[in-house]
Symmetry: C2
Subunit: 332 residues, 2 copies
């Protein structure tokens, strides 16, 4: 098998991690890099990723990148917004590239944004390529995994997923991102301007509901600070009593009066234990737990690499994690 | 959506459970039943399944069943042996039926029995239908699930799966099947004549290896009694010290000197706790546990129903659980 030729679009922390992971894994060649940031254009991708120079210069546009390379798959790590994603992909589709993206709203866009979904599906089908949104969450732990586990169930009445993370040992920017050290008003201000929100709970609920054949009548999302009553010191942050240690976000989905899906996401500095837990109420009832949780940075980079390895075999069109073969690790 | 019309072939405990589950779920119509047992031919399927009469008479051959019905999917619960399965399916394929089967050796037959696999694949492809082997084990817990979980891994060096069951509350025939109450010599005699063996560990290992891209150099399977040192009484069985409480079966797979896969299956009366555990050594390392385990009888019936609901959308040919979209519960 010859290497899969990749265009990396979006050179933030996730995009650069994906580049490192592709090279570490083997079986891939990163032949092009695109970012709109003027500071990055012209720089060497290897330098940016903390590797040796790769001879791949960052281009400002897909068109410029395609003049000097012929990739097969584009990895798009630019945005959480489906609307913005849709605007970015026409040149990729015209060039016949399959697309793997961490765009959170792409993980399961059909219910919330059906018109954009249909347009992307039609354009991808016409181009003969697959477009897939993935990531650790949305895309795996809180949606794909409960769906996959339900395969052994004769009855499912409710799905509950907890993702709980102690952010103590995560990067300082991550600790800040979850609101650690903020007073309640500052926390709320960040919630209000949208900068604190984890995007994807509702997409995950819609993915589960589509798989289960549930017609949801209502979905809700709430977001609250996790407050500390003691002083917490991390390597770069001191959190005082009355400040937030992090964030708790809850998604709920109903069929009429029945609560069918409950997703509980909590990330806080000093959370006693990191874990994933997934309960399916039904026949049989399943109570699954992953001790220590799954590191989100590693998992997101990895699942993008794994999806990139299999996307060329997927059916053309807009795909989601529940209508492709299981994305899995593959040694090079 | 109109109901999926099903032919049930094989009317043992699993086949009859599947019939009950199909009717309970809804969205299916069991239109034909086939079994070679002369005692069953002519009897009503509903009666056999412990339901009200269904007006579906058991036929002795597929040909006879197809004279009076036009099913779309055949569920084949007749055998563990791929060779026997191959002999049974030509009339089903000629009639254009997709096939879901609990045949253990069909779960991943490509490595051990490549010639039969290729023949089944060619015949199914020509017929334009999919043929899928599934079940709780092989087909899910010890193979599909670790493969699916590896989707978030950048590196996998070893996969270990435990399936441990306390058989205390299972049916007496199940307790006898796992050797409970046998003296060591009687246990060994049953191992030697093949009647005690759980079929599928090696198939599971080959499924994992195929997904991971590992070229295995050796696979081993061992089977041993779990002995008791105390007297154990169940509702229908007394097990004395020095007799077997059940069975422990281990599968190991190597790449050269490296142990890559280890599957540990243990079912014993009085086992302190039932659980599933799945460890992926790699980056990230994942340690997953299902408390209380997954009831095998329910899970096998359910996964067959769930696969039957989606098999008509699968790509024609011989399929396995790692190359179809995730089989999941779907409400009718």
């Amino acid at each position: 098998m010859s290497d899969i030729r990749v265009l990396q679009m979006g050179l933030g922390p996730i995009g650069l991690r994906v580049t490192r992971y592709l090279l570490e894994r083997g079986g891939f060649e990163v032949v092009a890099a695109v970012d709109a940031d003027m500071e990055l254009i012209g720089r060497d991708l290897g330098d940016l990723a903390g590797l040796s120079p790769m001879g791949v210069e960052v281009n400002g546009t897909v068109a410029a990148a395609l003049e000097v390379s012929s990739p097969q798959v584009a990895i798009v790590t630019t945005t959480s917004s489906l609307a913005r994603f849709e605007k970015q992909i026409p040149p990729l589709l015209r060039a016949g590239l399959s697309i793997v993206s961490t765009c959170e709203e792409l993980a399961y866009p059909w219910t919330r944004q059906p018109e954009i979904s249909r347009r992307i599906d039609a354009a991808a089908t016409e181009a003969g390529v697959a477009v897939l949104g993935t990531g650790v969450n949305p895309g795996f732990l809180m949606d794909f995994l409960p769906v996959a586990l339900s395969g052994v169930c004769q009855k499912v009445t409710k799905i509950t997923v907890w993702r709980v993370q102690d952010a103590q040992f995560r990067r300082i920017p991550f600790q800040r991102k979850i609101g650690a050290g903020l007073a309640p008003e500052a926390f709320q201000a960040k919630v209000d301007d949208g900068s604190l929100r984890h995007v994807g709970l509702t997409e995950s609920m819609h993915m589960i509901a589509a798989a289960m054949g549930w017609d949801l009548t209502e979905t809700t999302e709430s977001i609250d600070p996790v407050m500390t009553t003691e002083t917490i010191r991390t390597s770069g942050l001191t959190i005082e009593p009355g400040q937030a240690m992090g964030v708790a976000q809850t998604g709920k989905a109903y069929c009429g009066d029945e609560l069918r899906i409950e997703l509980l996401f909590r990330a806080a500095v000093g959370e006693p234990e990191s874990f994933e837990r997934l309960c399916i109420d039904g026949d049989p009832t399943i109570d699954m737990r992953i001790a220590g949780g799954v590191n989100g940075d590693v998992a997101t980079g990895a699942i993008v690499v794994n999806a990139t390895a299999s996307i060329l075999d997927a059916q053309p069109g807009l795909r989601t994690m529940i209508d492709v073969s299981p994305v899995c690790y593959k040694a090079s």
